[in-house]
Amino acid sequence: MNRTIQKSLVALSVLLLPFSTILNAGPGGGGNHSSRGSATSSVNRGNTSNTNRNNNTNVNRNTNTNVNSNKNVNVNANKNVNVNVNVDNNRGGYYGGGYNNGCCYHQSVGGAVATAAAVTATTMVTAAVVGSMVNTLPPSCTSVIVNGIAYQQCGSTWYQPQFSGGNTNYVVINAPR
């Protein structure tokens, strides 16, 4: 009996592995639905108001918008550099016209560089507050075992996975080592 159970456990875990990936990736679409409670499921437990501790089913993942705008600036800078190459090659009147407006060329390169620098300065990663709780991890986390307990390291932020009520969530903690 035990063997059978163990075998089926292993078989199930193998079967469900792809699902865990999907779950970790988080369901797409939807919105945040928070619930105010749920049905009592025991007649002998007394009048407990079963408040859900972890009720957001669809967590919207925030992509870092700062990084995105930074990319746009880089594209602009590249364009300007291309113009520069063309000017050096001195190919015909079409580009000559551009060159003749030289003031603008230099200005735009300078401007682009300045913008890029400014944007880079604003992409400082904001550290998550220790003690805060999330239902879903940010992307690119690594599972790390410290003293037999599993943690998730996501960049410089450490998360402690935990069972909270009937659900799993993650608490931001100081690095465990």
Partner: protein
Amino acid sequence: MKKRLAILALVTMAVVMVALQVRTQPTAVSNLTSASAAKRIVAAADDSAINSDALAALNSMGSYLRTLKTFQVEAVTTKDDVLDDGQLIQFDTHVNLLARMPDRLRVEVTSSRQHRFYFYDGKNFTLFAQRVNYYATVPAPETIGKLADELNDKLGIQLPLEDLFFWGGPRSKVNEITGAIDVGPAEVGGVTCEQYAFRQPGLNWQIWIQQGDFPLPRKLVLSTLTDEARPQYSSVLQWNLAPSFNEEAFQFQPPTDAQKIVFAGEKASDVAGN
């Protein structure tokens, strides 16, 4: 002239009588209405009173449950969540519970979102979340009933079908029942049952108890009254009173890639070490 006056008087009388009739009719109707309303109120008062047969049936079911040494229950349950705006969202769960009284328990809970195992070997309790491959273990008290209370009070986890371990025992809340009705015979999954309805503070609930020598609960429906949306929980139970198992069914053997985590409120340093 006298004749005319007489006719006028007759007509006047007739008009007055008609008018009176018109006026008295609604009064009669409203009298009837209030009479039937009074009857209904009396009937409602009867309903909320405690039917002694219903209460006795519940008690004998409890006593019978407490005679069981081992049992396996497979249950299909539904539970409503109430969104902030009052909309109800129903979730289905399949529960497979194996118990050896008083201190061995294994529960597998499967839903479209979770696949959980509860292991209790009389010493430790382990919750294993198979999809995320996490588990956590805590020392456990000496009986399933105490375990259910501890899980609820300390970890905020409700043991599935925990009522099965409370009916017929000191933790039963039968004494809080304020209304009991014997609804009548009803079939659940091909089994003839008697359906009962109960009221207690914050809860209206119904139970279908198997008729005959094995008074087992076959179906439960709970309506929570503390939320105006009245969310419901239901479970339909299938029983196996001679399950096959061995001791290791209640012991958790972590899969090689499973990771140990903590319960909320536990300190990682307290459970670290292996």
